[in-house]
Symmetry: D2
Subunit: 294 residues, 4 copies
């Protein structure tokens, strides 16, 4: 397929590389063009503008940092809606809110384009190994046509519904669940630790018995070892995603008290200077509230 | 070993059967004696009193419903402390609070007996299959001497520390973590469901990717199918255990905001008539608060 | 003074009437013009547009429902910034968020106009009686020049700072405090009531002793008598204001766990059909969670 | 009346002095007898034991620190139930839990004595000035007979019901409401302060308009000035009372999420070394979470 790719951060760069490897004809665009050039080598075209990244493509993939970036690139005067050919696909892989996903999908529909929301689960290493999990939602025909793209970047695709925002809602819910694991582990570790128990042994017990899931092992280890820098997923992004889950909850009228607790934790972390830390650093707040000096 | 076993509920009965199967000489005691008789057959002695279940034993195991029962059986006038031979073991397997565990351990020490806290993780089926996970804490020599008992009832023993309450703290923390999974899943499912997503597909995604742990699969399924009766672990026990975790937190001065949220959920469930339901029924409250008619 | 007045809901109409009564020369504008005409009689001019309400005025006062309305009227192509004479005042009395207040103030400054944020405390009856409390913030000269306006509508003006958003922050914080009173009273009443106490006597005790404040009397009575319709201040506005307080908290990095709890209450109330009720109806949720059938 | 008075802390000593002043014949008992002697002068008898403080009295008043003390003095082998004459009154003025109040009342009834729960609102200065508010509950005849006692110590008596625990529930609910004011003010002050507003002006606004209640003025001032020592009412007592409110909520099945939040605040405060501070010091946690260095 002829594919435009917009957004070449760590995740996007890895995904684009895998699309190229799978034989797709790529045109790359990044706001700061050096990244695109470095990545492209002689393997891909470089677009000087979003418009150029869209013209004549079968599909354009976006992988950007937040709602504002996606909105600007998609709905702006020189954006995707204005320049993607009718019938072509917009594969929106960023983690964005459901309100924006609805607006983007409606705009694309009006312009005869087809949008598929396709956020992914997985850290940069998984992206590099083409081992992402893709969460897709949109018109069934569009999702089917996007199949080769998903196959090139991920190990498995989960189709969640026929309207794009459903996939975004699932992605936000997944991140909320991970943050919930961090908070619950942090409270349990603070309790066991202050009670004189061995935190490493406790974590070993948990992950050998009830919770043999990578999320528990990964974040449990970060918490026990207090290794919050450099960040794998930065705290401000955690606040953003929990905030988007809560915004979805407000729009759909679903109260989420545990997400509210998490949001307060993230704000506390940032208030205390945690912008540069991994989002799992909210876990140190439980220990701090229990009197551990920070 | 010569072992007295006190408390023959579903868990205790299964554990006792496995101890017998492993060749130990058992004396059974239950407050309502029929259970003991039914279980004993011609394989085990029946004790008419706690005292009789203790005399001459190498160890006595207790598996009772709550703090009150364990306190009565252990510290009462005709209790274990009064009748267990010096040097013998009290394997306390009930899920009890750390304050009580401290008092029991101190009493036993004064009487020259040795207490090991050894709560277990696993449902009755796991107990029947001798597949429990045993969490043990106490004097190293005592823990070692209790080894044959643990081997007979469980698949693996985790030694958590040299003072008995540590094991109880770990057990309470584990149950808190399970309840946290229930709450977080319930909120996520309410959100995805009200947003039009397929809850089964969402659960399949979660357990195939980030959360491949039995706890997520088991409770996720109960939540999606709203199968809260008959209870595997009844809601009042959930309230009891979260309450004991919070009491430990108060004693140790560790605030546990997520546990506080869970406690409020359990009280709400019971206030609305949920005494007979599984503890996972707190999960229906998230859906109810989102407007789903109950 | 020559004053344009935009937004003639119950509050705005009463404020405008008092400005007229105080001898100011008024020009009225409302999106639905009938309201303006009914109010104007032969006493005031009617503007057909926001622009017309601004031209040649010493000041324009806005009293609108929410951020969107204020943003549209102020920053829109035919808005206040575009048409208010340089040096004139924009008295922004609506309850809006601090981010918007910042943007409005910056826009006005660029156009040489002067903005004063001046939200008010008081229900429509207080507005009619010119008994509002005015919370003002902005450039000291501008605040002083706005004095005659404040004197005409309120019983007292509190100057809170030299940058407009401070007044909005104070207003939002005040509404948060009122909502906190509702929640705390509701929980206490649920507890006392279910314990067999007389709720009226309890409320009489509270307001005669520790809490002799109108807020406790007014909302306590609404709660005890469950009189939630018609709304004095509708539940969706309560959600809006608590949401704006939380947004301010996020921007300033101040976690507000009690506000988070209130937000969840409002969403629950709306999810269960409470859009048409008074915001104090969040108080029935405490009773409902305690098992009272709704 | 002939009155025994047990418990001569700051509150009890002041109440006893007022009973003497009103002409009652007093017998004083305190665990540490010096306090009783100092207070008695030549005006009152000194009892060497609880039993002696009870014999031949028309009524005995207890004003003790916590449930344990009241339980010991009342139900112990040499306690009030064992020694108060049939028909006489036990005026239980301590702030105790409803479960204990039920047990005490049942014990007294069995022994033919009459118990009235009569906790009070007011700080030591109010006690000294006989300006307490008395919250009474019990058999109407008993409450009537206790009237002269209440008149001597307080400015007004509120009769809340015919079973003693109702008064205790009301007292606990009142303290919960005060703690809620502290938390809500603390969050609002943190927000306004970090947003650049003047906290003193904000407090002046609040107490001049919406919240003209001593509780807001008193605690608001403590918060703004961060004057948490010496304690008027110590933080551990705050935790105790909120804990008793939550225990009542659990017994009656009334979830109290705001009380849960307060409990976590108190535990955090104590974990960070706040045992010697006033309970309003929970208010500094909101500022601390917002990044203020403590």
């Amino acid at each position: 397929m002829k594919i435009g790719f917009i957004g070449l951060g760590r995740m996007g760069a890895a995904m684009a590389a895998n699309l190229h490897r799978a034989g797709h004809e790529l045109t790359l665009y990044n706001r700061t063009p050096d990244k695109a050039r470095a990545l492209a080598g002689d393997r891909a075209h470089i677009a000087e503008s979003v418009a150029e990244a869209c013209r004549g493509q079968d599909a354009v993939v976006t992988m950007l940092a937040n709602d504002e970036a996606v909105e600007g690139v998609t709905l702006g005067a020189d954006g995707i809606v204005a320049h993607l050919p009718p019938g072509s696909l917009h594969i929106a892989s960023s983690t964005i809110g459901i309100a924006l996903a609805e607006r983007l999908a409606a705009s694309h529909a009006k312009s005869g384009q087809r949008m598929v929301s396709a956020p992914v689960f997985g850290r940069p290493e998984a992206a590099a190994a083409a081992k992402l999990f893709v969460v897709a939602a949109g018109d069934p025909g569009a999702v089917r046509d996007a199949g080769p793209i998903f196959d090139a970047i991920g190990q498995r695709t989960f189709v969640m519904g026929e309207t794009p925002p459903t996939a975004n809602l699932v992605k936000l819910s997944g991140n909320f669940l991970i943050a919930s694991v961090i908070e619950s582990l942090a409270e349990a570790l603070a309790l066991v630790g202050k009670g004189g128990g061995d935190q490493h042994a406790f974590l070993e017990l948990l992950t050998s018995t009830l919770f043999p899931a990578p999320v528990y092992r990964t974040y449990g280890t970060l918490l026990v070892e207090e290794k919050f820098a450099p960040p794998g997923f930065a705290a401000p992004l955690g606040l953003k995603d929990v905030g988007l889950a809560l915004a979805a909850g407000e729009q759909l009228r679903v109260p989420l008290p545990l997400a509210s607790l998490l949001r307060d934790r993230f704000i506390t972390l940032l208030a205390q200077g945690g912008d540069g830390l991994d989002w799992s650093a909210i876990g140190r707040l439980a220990a701090q509230d229990a009197g551990k000096s920070s």
